[in-house]
Amino acid sequence: MMKYAISLLLGLLCGAALFVIGLLYNPFIADRTVSPLSVSSKAVVSLSYTAVPAKTIAFTNSGEARLQPHPKDIRLLREDTLQLTDVMVTEMRNARGQTAGIGLKFSSRSERTNLLRGEALVDSAWYVHLPGRGSLFVEQSENYWPFIQKVMVPAYRNSANSWKGKWTGDLSAGPGALGVARVTGVGGSLLGQSMAAVESLSVQAYSTDEGPVFAEGRLLIEIPSDDAKATD
């Protein structure tokens, strides 16, 4: 009788492990390879930012996450309602690499996360201020599942607990059609304009202790043609 119980228990453990492996390497959950804005006929403006918290102007969270707050004396979001929230203030650079403005990003892990469907969702809101030109509000859901699959899991499997390589992927997963973020112009020449955007992440080094070591984020914003020259 005992050997049957042990056999059943072993089967249960192996089954659960098999499920986790199947989930992580599920070939039916494909990464989006083409950005929805690549087929747009409208002007697209690129704003890039560092995705390494220590290189931002400021970054804070609960203090219990992998990503360390910056600077060291910044107040933490320790309250129960803010435990799953990150706040980032960063320089935004244009396509020429020049500072174009400032970006503030609030992001919270989403309760709509469904790992069975390959959705590790984060609800985020950007406020991008481009001095003399205007301000933008970007609302989106981001899906970090491809990043977890392609960067985080290999980093944990590595004996040095790190990952090096090149991974680039789109994070935006709605609420707009084709999974684009919704953008509203809230100031300057962009006031009242409704636009679309896609946020992408490019990672070259990742550590399981510190998070991204070398990584850059990018907001591609589809804007009316008249405003494109002024913003670029």
Partner: protein
């Protein structure tokens, strides 16, 4: 015994899948929304910020002092006229429910507030720099996400100083009274 192992294997897969389906991966802590309904049907809600206890970051143009002390503001000329403040925001009962940013630019006629309540969504509010006669700054909800995506309306922002505090320390509260209506799709 091998059959038992196979049965266990199948059960293991089913139990793991069932657990992942039944139990939420993300469990966001929520506070009850304290919303009242006006006679015209609009929703009224108030938030406030206790200064200085709810401050996270303060950078004002032309001022050398930064908060927190170790904050390093970039030297780029284009960022010098920008003011940024980050706060935690509280509901009517004084419970912290979200975070807010206040952004301004030298010479602008309005400033922007971004309120982010993790359990509900975000609100982008543009507020006039010129105060009204009662001391409040009038603003409008320009855009929102999730619960606030279909809402439009006005906001009154008021600074209420605490005169009982020590001299030389800015103490008080920033009060925000929102008055929103649900926007009906024009289709």
């Amino acid at each position: 015994m091998f059959k038992t192992f196979i049965i266990g294997l199948v059960l293991g897969v089913l139990v793991a899948a069932g657990a992942l389906y039944a139990f939420p991966v993300v469990d966001q802590q929520r506070e009850n929304s304290l919303v009242s309904v006006a006679t015209n049907g609009s929703n009224i809600e108030s938030y406030h910020i206790e200064v200085p206890s709810d401050r996270i970051l303060v950078r004002q143009p032309g001022q050398d002092s930064l908060f927190p002390d170790l904050l390093d503001w970039p030297a780029a000329d284009v960022l010098q006229p920008i003011g940024v403040e980050l706060y935690k925001i509280r509901n009517e009962r004084g419970v912290i429910i979200g975070v807010a940013s206040h952004s301004s630019e030298v010479g602008a006629t309005s400033t922007d507030w971004l309120l982010h309540i993790p359990a509900r969504g975000s609100q982008l509010i543009s507020v006039q720099t010129q105060a009204t006669q009662n001391g409040a700054h009038r603003g409008d909800l320009r855009a929102g996400s999730r619960e606030f995506a279909q809402r439009r309306g006005s906001v009154a922002v008021r600074w209420v100083p605490d005169d009982s505090a020590d001299q030389g320390v800015v103490t008080g509260r920033i009060e925000m009274l929102t008055n929103y209506v649900r926007q009906v799709d024009q289709q």
